[in-house]
């Protein structure tokens, strides 16, 4: 019998692979492999306009060239060890409309439900996440519609990427690829060629979005595919807080995930982007698990614009992810707050890039890495101060905590300064979870597991506090569950 929930979750996940719950190929899946035909087919299925098909094809040709010379194309610089995916052996499109597996929650494994309970996930969401058929009229669809109407009144557009292409092609065409061009990197090129769907968000000038976007919609994202594309546009003086992901253990039979997120913030606009990433990390022997290769970048286009990335990364076998900000507008602000927790055989190479272009630009980086088991956790960050970036300031702090002696923590800070007026501060610490701290807790009667939770939660507190309230509570519970049995 599994002793901890974590093991249980791993087992659930592994067993699903074993029994192949989703092996019955639906009619709407196209054959494995990637060629021009596949790109055309995806575009056709989505009834895309000609300009988008052409864009995909350009991206595909670019990717083809890169793939022809893999030794140079793959990003090999991260501190990660894995076998590169066989790109010819991947299915690049499957219909997101998957049939529910159960008629009611009663049929779902009670231990999985208990985990959902502990995470505080509402009942209706539990049903969707577990794959239960949901009563469409009673459930979130109606909620969904109410909020959509409220947003529409303010002129906010929030919809799937596919819908945006149909309904707001001029916006998509104007901004897509403007922050992350398909030439950016190997996986960005792949995503551009074959992306399935994603989210689109537009906040008009001067509008403050009255709710955390996607809190009420996150389930709908659960089903989206492996090549997501998100585009957020915040017009002058607008504000939006956007949430991605979910604390519930997310499984996917797709091993490779290559998402792209682009954010554009005009003058005085503020975008807060929060992520909780809990994809299947693979089993304890390192089998299975999602490869998560994400390109996320925002541009503070106008003066005094602000973009903050906050992330809690606990899932995936491999994480390769550097949410970045280009600080173009004068006085613009970029922030990156991250907690990355790895255990078992997980590997994470994550961090950020802050590129200072405008004058008086300011960036803050706070990264907390926690490694347990035999995992490896690296912070990699670039702070670049361009020539014209007068009086740019950066503060970086990277703290790593080791929960055992078979895990690793690494810090790779890169600093490029082309303007002498820059002020750049970097602090880094690595510590084994303090023997003294643990002993102090023990001496007060707090047992080992509770003590570890207490200390790690304390270590991450300033980051978790940056998450929107309800997300923060779930995030802390998630971290607690993940910490169970993670030492050694």
């Amino acid at each position: 019998m599994p002793t901890t929930e974590t093991e249980f979750l791993h087992e659930v996940a592994a067993s699903e692979y074993k029994y192949g719950w989703e092996t019955n190929v639906e009619a709407d899946t196209i054959p494995k492999g990637l060629d021009e035909e596949v790109v055309r087919l995806i575009s056709a299925k989505k009834e895309e306009p000609q300009w988008l098909l052409e864009w995909r094809l350009r991206a595909w040709r670019h990717w083809e060239k890169l793939a022809a010379n893999p030794s140079e194309a793959y990003p090999r610089w991260p501190h990660l060890t894995y076998t590169e995916p066989d790109f010819r052996n991947i299915t690049y499109y499957s219909s997101p409309s998957k049939k529910p597996r159960y008629e009611s929650l009663d049929e779902v494994d009670p231990e999985l439900l208990e985990t959902f309970e502990r995470l505080g996930i509402p009942l209706a969401e539990q049903e969707k996440l577990a794959g239960v058929a949901v009563d469409v009229v009673l459930d979130s669809v109606s909620v969904h519609t109410t909020f959509k109407e409220e947003l529409a009144e303010l002129g906010i557009i929030f919809c799937s990427f596919g819908d945006a292409v149909q309904e707001h092609p001029e916006l998509v065409q104007k901004y897509m690829g403007s922050v992350v061009p398909y030439t950016d990197n190997f996986y960005a090129a792949l995503n551009a060629a074959v992306f399935s769907d994603g989210s689109f968000c537009y906040i008009p000038k001067g509008v403050r979005c009255p709710m955390e976007l996607s809190t009420y919609f996150r389930i709908n994202q659960a089903g989206t595919g492996q090549f997501e594309r998100t585009l957020i546009i915040a017009e002058e003086g607008s504000y939006v807080s956007y949430l991605e992901g979910c604390t519930a253990p997310m499984r996917d039979e797709n091993q490779l995930h290559a998402a792209v997120v682009e954010i554009v913030a005009e003058a005085n606009a503020e975008v807060k982007y929060s992520t909780i990433q809990n994809w299947y990390p693979g089993d304890n022997e390192g089998r299975g698990g999602v490869y998560n290769f994400v390109t996320k970048r925002g541009i503070c286009k106008g003066d005094r614009a602000k973009i903050s990335w906050t992330q809690l990364e606990t899932g995936s076998a491999i994480t390769w992810k550097y949410p970045s900000v280009i600080l173009k507008g004068d006085g613009s602000v970029g922030e990156f707050y991250s907690v990355a927790f790895t255990k078992g055989q997980q590997q994470a190479d994550t961090g950020t890039k802050m590129v200072h272009v405008g004058k008086n630009t300011k960036s803050t980086i706070i990264s907390k890495g926690i490694s347990g088991g035999r995992s490896n956790n690296s912070y990699r960050g670039l702070v670049k101060i361009n020539k014209g970036a007068e009086r740019a300031r950066n503060f970086s702090q990277c703290d790593s905590m080791l929960l055992g002696d078979r895990c690793g923590a690494h810090t790779f800070p890169y600093i490029e300064i082309k303007n002498p007026s820059a002020q750049v501060e970097h602090e880094a610490t690595t510590s084994k979870i303090g023997e003294d701290q643990l002993f102090y807790c023990f001496q007060r009667g707090i047992g080992e597991e509770a003590a570890i939770k207490l200390i790690v939660n304390g270590f991450c507190k300033e980051i978790l506090a940056k998450l929107p309230m309800e997300f923060a509570v779930e995030a802390q519970k998630l971290l607690d569950i993940e910490l169970e049995g993670s030492v050694g």
Partner: protein, 253 residues
């Protein structure tokens, strides 16, 4: 039966023998002072009793309430009423005093088969105990010992002692680094916590604390052994003569 009975306790760290045969018996409700020069093994002795794993016990035994103390995990010892006021209290960044103490207290209550304390009762208790050592209740929302002044850290230890109500309290140099006013506050706090079913082992380098906390027995530790025991006049004698004559005795022994 004595609360604590220590026989011929030997302990070492990294091949270095530090405790070399400590004998000590502490009865219920008694206050024992342990004095001695720096490096004589006082903190090691306290840490071994609290269960610090770095120290290896090589010989001897410790009975606590008749049971084998050395057989218990450190958190079990705490749950069974052993409390150590640390010479160097540890900082826990991001962990609020509130949260820390609530967990500690509720673990102890659970261990005794009691219900967790309600939020209201917990708060009330916290205010009372904080007042006992004149600790600013504002500190309760701060991280444990993080940014506390030296005096606050020491008073925080006695505050926790008051909250957790142990049966054996070991105070490791709680007086050092305190000015006379703070010393009095700490001593008054400890005196208020003296009870017939609570024993104290007060480790101190200086005699002055013992003007305020009057011990039943004074022991002198030198080179990992208790070389002398007596009543409180022994402390005064030490004050007068210093520790040097003891060293000679220890070597001669």
């Amino acid at each position: 039966m004595a609360l604590l009975q220590i026989n011929n306790l030997h302990a070492r760290i990294e091949e270095q023998n530090i405790l070399k045969g400590v004998d000590l018996t502490v009865g219920a409700g008694e206050v024992h002072a342990i004095m001695g020069p720096n490096g004589s093994g006082k903190s090691t002795f306290a840490a071994v009793l609290a269960g610090r794993e770095e120290f290896e016990v090589t010989e001897g035994g410790v009975l606590y309430e008749g049971g084998d103390l050395l057989d218990m995990e450190p958190d079990e010892r705490a749950l069974e009423g052993v409390f150590l006021a640390f010479q160097y209290p540890v900082e826990l960044p991001g962990v609020s005093m509130n949260n820390f103490l609530r967990q500690a207290l509720n673990q102890q209550r659970e261990h005794r088969g009691e219900e967790p304390l309600s939020a209201g009762a917990f708060l009330k208790r916290m205010r009372e105990c904080a007042a006992l050592v004149s600790l600013d209740p504002q500190l309760m929302s701060r991280s444990v010992n993080d940014g506390f002044s030296g005096g606050e850290k020491k008073r925080n230890e006695i505050f926790q002692l008051a909250m957790l109500e142990p049966r054996l309290a070991i105070l490791d140099e709680t007086d050092s680094g305190l000015d006379i006013d703070a010393l009095r506050i700490v001593a008054d706090g400890v005196n208020a916590l003296r009870r017939s079913d609570r024993s104290f082992v007060v480790i101190t380098h200086y005699q002055r604390l013992l003007n305020y906390i009057v011990p039943d027995v004074v022991h002198v530790m030198a080179d990992g052994r208790i070389v002398r025991s007596g009543d409180k006049s022994l402390a005064l004698e030490l004050e007068e003569k210093g520790y040097d004559w003891l060293r000679e005795e220890a070597v001669a022994a």
